[in-house]
Amino acid sequence: MAYEVQTRVFEGPLDLLLQLITSHQLEITELSLSAIVSEYVSYIDALTETDIDMTSEFLLIAATLVQLKARHLLPGSEGFDLDEELALAEERDKLLSRLLACLTFKDVAAVLLHRLEAAERWVPRTVGLDPGIEAVMPEVRLGVTLEQFHAIAEVALSETLIDPDLDHFDFDLPSVDDAIADLRARMASEAVAEFDALVSHCDRPIEVVAYFLALLELVRWGMVHATQETADAPIKLVHNPAPTNPEGIEMIARISEWGNS
């Protein structure tokens, strides 16, 4: 039997084991421990995770699996220490109960999500007091000393470094610096252009934003002259190959430096 390492989405050692067992359930009637152990271990080989905690957890589970497998392969129970046997059985039960607990909470989490979504249909009011009553609202109390406030700031601003919440980050941010390079090249060849035409290839608003920021930079450096008659009118651009303001001269120098390096 060949075991192919597919790219699975798993959340950790326990989750992986759970997935290996439950996914094989459909394909194989007789699921062997050997199959699971081989596949599990192959994941360890493929592990690029540098997290020590996770790696050790992986190894711990793998060790238990390998031990169980070794025990299974040897016929009979002769030559086995009873204490060792019991310890191994205990390990197996512990692993099993962890798998069960894991499954249970996965199931209940789905129910909680459902409840969260259902509860969202009720909308509370968040506007607060009526304007007239606000006037008599007593003065706010910070309730913290300067030292405590400082400590809150330390935590609030440091946690983001250790723990950036990247869920909503758009990592595929267009580079303004690429946009500058592209705009410079195209303005140099076209000499005169309209902004809309230059961004006609952009799919996303954020890309247009990047080009607009790039344009502002080029204007600031004096490399491009931009005009717009009214707010809705097209933005017309004229190339200036030899800017005379200090910023532009410096930028030209820097850009040619990068070109040489």
Partner: protein
Amino acid sequence: MDVASTIEAILFVAEEPVSGAELSQLLEAPRTEVDEALLTLQDRHQTGPSGLVVRNTGGGWRLYTDPEAKPYLERFAATERATRLSKAALETMAIVAYKQPISRGQVAEVRGVDSDRVLRTLERRGLIFEAGRAEGPGQAVLYSTTNLFLEKLGLSSLAELPPLADHVPPAGVVDVLERPFRPEESSNESTN
């Protein structure tokens, strides 16, 4: 204006659920009278024509819009949408909800993954809080769920959480999990 209407006005301006005890203090009325008035108010919105409902969630009472109005509110700009919780965050939240107070180490044990980050996210969202410290060496921080957690789930107390026993995997699944570990079947295995 009767007591029920006064309570309605208070709940209207409150930015989180208000408990019966608090209402009783504000109105200088006995608790029984407040409880009765709350039921009257709830009944008024339920039976009469109204776009609002009174609910007991998150350790107190609060006014909400009728769920039927939700589609219109979504079109109305003012409704805020909370950013979705990840699957990992939901699982961690479930573990804390049922095992509270619980340390991060215990959460990690159940999930099999280091859960510090997720716990911090949940704490920052106001869904869990540091409820205390474990006794003994290390004095690990213990987490519990907040009233906001209850409110977000539409629960009035933790007792209303669905019983965990209902979510234990069925016998068939347990069997599948156990099968590879059963010594009897090892004889079927040849080599590998």
